[in-house]
């Protein structure tokens, strides 16, 4: 008895009027997968320099209903976060991604209660890094890892993402290129991709009640992005 798998593949081949691909045809397709070519990419970010990309990112983040803060260095981030929480009337506590531990110095914001790890649903606010920021559409790319757990991106009501200027790219394809080269190194551990790659464009929303857009359907109501120069 042939398996469902063989029957489905057989049915596909019968409909296409050929046998399984072999030889040169298969080699050409393997090559297409091994070194992925780019298709048409919109001109929108072509020719932009670093600061042009950052400007485009900030504009697009705003269109996607994010709030944006720009700071000169990482040292300023904790203070700006404390101020933002206060301005938004949010509790002075947060959970940060393990990878940020040591990188962000919270000693100057002693009123903030800072926890490190993933989220369990009880936290109001998370702080995470990003892997890349796509200025074409204001999209943040985040990857799962022991030091960047995915729960932080979805469970708290408020998500603060810290973007380094060097992480800002033009089109999505540039972010894929960076991810592929990062995975090709030791970091990949033999996996072509992290378990989860999230492309996030703005805070969670729904239009399911009479097509009126509401923020905070299941994921964060607010997405605040801090762009760090350098």
């Amino acid at each position: 008895m042939t398996s469902a798998r063989d029957q489905i593949l057989g049915s596909i081949r019968k409909s296409l009027g050929r046998d399984a691909l072999g030889g040169e045809a298969a080699a050409a397709l393997r090559q297409r997968l091994a070194s992925p070519a780019r298709n048409l990419i919109p001109d929108r970010t072509a020719g932009l320099d670093d600061s042009g990309l950052v400007r485009q990112l900030v504009t697009k983040l705003g269109e996607a209903a994010c709030t944006v803060d720009e700071v000169a260095s990482l040292d300023e981030v904790p203070g700006r976060i404390a101020a933002w929480l206060q301005r938004e009337n949010l509790p002075a506590r947060l959970v940060q991604a393990p990878v940020l531990q040591g990188g962000l110095d919270w000693s100057k914001t002693p009123t903030l209660e800072v926890k490190t790890g993933t989220a369990d649903g009880s936290e109001d606010t998370s702080v995470t890094p990003v892997f890349a920021a796509v200025s074409e559409t204001g999209t943040l790319m985040l990857q799962s890892d022991v030091a960047t757990p995915t729960g932080l991106n979805f469970l708290p009501e408020n998500h603060i993402a810290v973007v380094r200027r060097s992480q800002v790219v033009g089109p999505l394809e540039d972010a894929w290129a960076r991810l592929r080269s990062a995975r090709a190194g030791a970091e990949g551990g033999g996996h072509t991709m992290p378990r989860t790659v999230n492309l996030i464009t703005g805070p969670s929303r729904t239009g399911d009640i009479e097509q009126k857009i509401q923020m905070g359907a299941h994921g964060p109501r607010r997405l605040h992005v801090i762009v760090v120069d350098g």
Binding site: L29, P36, T137, T192, G207, A217
Partner: protein
């Protein structure tokens, strides 16, 4: 899902007389059409991207077996499993077996049209497993025990007054006098109610917008984040997807993503586009312990190589139904099965047979808007015409239509007789209708005049006028 597509005429009649439904359907124009137009105007390359998207899918379909095998290899290399299923029954049984092995009591579900296609919820319930829909629209219609009426806005046929009644009935533990008026009230209540369900769930089931052969990833595109919570918090992640969802590379997905959200909701990108590859890694702090892809054929492999192959390019954006005058008039339930609108009028007879769904390809004015907005350039009207031809050839058309066509064919192949008869009809109707300019009723045309007036001809046929002008030149 049990089909009522054979009753399309009665379904449509019922829908047209449903005042609440008509009010709900009024939201489509501003909600979808206008936003799509604006976002596309802001991207000069949109038309060229449509060509690129079409070409990627055509290439993939021509090599579908190859790319599915590579996809499977890469899922397995990352610790996941692919379950090949020929039929809805095989897919349901596969999913049940996974749930049983995990001793699952409840499963959370992200939005999936393929799960509707295989009737998953009813099947799980019949086997004592509770499915919990987590997309807000899907949650609402689950409470109402209804199927979705739109592929990306499943509760588009429901008004907020109806939802308020449903929430009060099902959320009986909450204050009965609470306010349920503004969209915010409903969103907050559903958010709170569903939060616990994510954590309780043993298995999380999502659909897939894409399968990536290069990496063995499955991709979901959502705005709410419900599909992400579903797969993050379930102990096992089951992806149910039909086999034409595969694309070769991440770059190919990037191209089609530029078309998808713009065509669907008028966004440049949906809020969450998530690539899932295998189960959680040993060192990860969260994520599912198992990763299963249930890959469904259900007749699609047989569509390859036929005049309906192009339908397999569909990315389920819903632009066709958002711009369809027939869909806007009758809503999605009238179509009687899972997929409504123009894409449903082609896909439904392909998947469940023309005997059951032969009415659907007739539910079109052939205005062509569906094809003009389809991001994958699927020739939907042409394929509906193919189905009409098939229906006629197989003798499935109603006797009256067959008799009418036979009579017309008889006349049309006898030009002298045809001209004489139509000339006479135009003169007689023109004379009788001159005063009013239209007819409220006409013998043999009750189907037309029952819902609208027939304009009176001006006394001459097109043929006659044409011949006169040619002679005058």
């Amino acid at each position: 899902m049990q089909s009522t597509s054979h009753s399309f005429k009665q379904n449509a009649h019922h829908a047209l007389n449903d005042a609440t439904l008509q009010r709900a359907l009024g939201n489509i124009k501003t909600g979808f059409q206008e936003k799509r137009r604006q976002v596309i105007e802001a991207l000069p390359e949109f038309e060229s991207l449509r060509d690129a998207g079409r070409d990627i899918k055509n290439h993939t379909l021509a090599n579908l077996d190859f790319y599915l095998e590579r996809f499977e290899e890469n899922v397995v290399a990352n610790g996941g499993v692919v379950h090949w299923c020929r039929t809805p029954a095989e897919a349901r049984e596969t999913i049940l077996a996974i749930c049983r092995r995990r001793n699952a009591k409840t499963v959370t579900k992200g939005k999936s049209m393929v799960a509707e296609e295989i009737g998953l919820n009813q099947y799980l319930e019949a086997n004592a497993i509770e499915p919990v829909e987590t997309d807000l629209g899907e949650y609402i219609i689950q409470l109402r025990n209804e199927p979705p009426s739109h592929i990306i806005a499943p509760a588009i046929h429901v008004t907020r007054e109806q939802i308020a009644d449903d929430f009060r009935r099902h959320h009986a533990d909450l204050d009965p006098n609470r306010r349920l008026e503004e969209p915010r009230d409903f969103t907050d209540e559903a958010r709170a109610k569903l939060r616990d369900r994510y954590f309780q769930a043993d298995v999380g089931i999502t659909g897939a917008n894409f399968l990536i052969a290069e990496t063995g990833s499955t991709v979901i595109v959502t705005n709410e984040g419900n599909g992400d919570m579903t797969q993050l918090l379930g102990k096992a992640h089951v992806v149910v997807a039909s086999l034409e969802k595969v694309v070769p590379t991440l770059d190919d997905a990037a191209t089609i993503l530029r078309l998808l959200a713009r065509s669907a909701t008028g966004q440049e990108m949906s809020v969450y586009t998530t690539f899932s590859t295998g189960p959680r890694r040993a060192e990860d702090l969260d994520g599912p312990e198992e990763f299963h892809v249930v890959l469904l054929d259900n007749g699609r492999s047989a569509m390859l190589g036929t005049e309906f192959q192009d339908m397999l390019r569909c990315i389920r954006c819903a632009a066709c139904m958002n711009h369809c005058p027939v869909y806007a008039a009758v809503g999605g339930h009238a179509y009687g099965w899972v997929y409504p609108g123009p894409m449903g009028a082609v896909l439904t007879p392909s998947l469940i047979g023309i005997e059951e769904a032969g009415h659907l390809p007739n539910a079109s004015t052939f205005c062509g808007r569906c094809e003009s907005v389809c991001p994958m350039r699927i020739p939907l009207p042409k394929m509906m015409r193919h189905y009409r031809t098939r229906e006629f050839e197989r003798g499935l058309a109603p006797p009256k239509a067959k008799a009418g066509l036979k009579l017309w064919a008889f006349l049309a192949t006898r030009p002298t007789l045809y001209r004489a008869l139509t000339g006479m009809a135009a003169r007689v109707l023109g004379a009788f209708g001159r005063r009013a300019g239209r007819f409220r009723s006409l013998p043999l045309a009750g189907g037309w005049t029952g819902v609208r007036d027939m304009p009176a001809p001006e006394g001459r046929t097109f043929h006659a006028l044409w011949a006169e002008r040619r002679a005058a030149r």
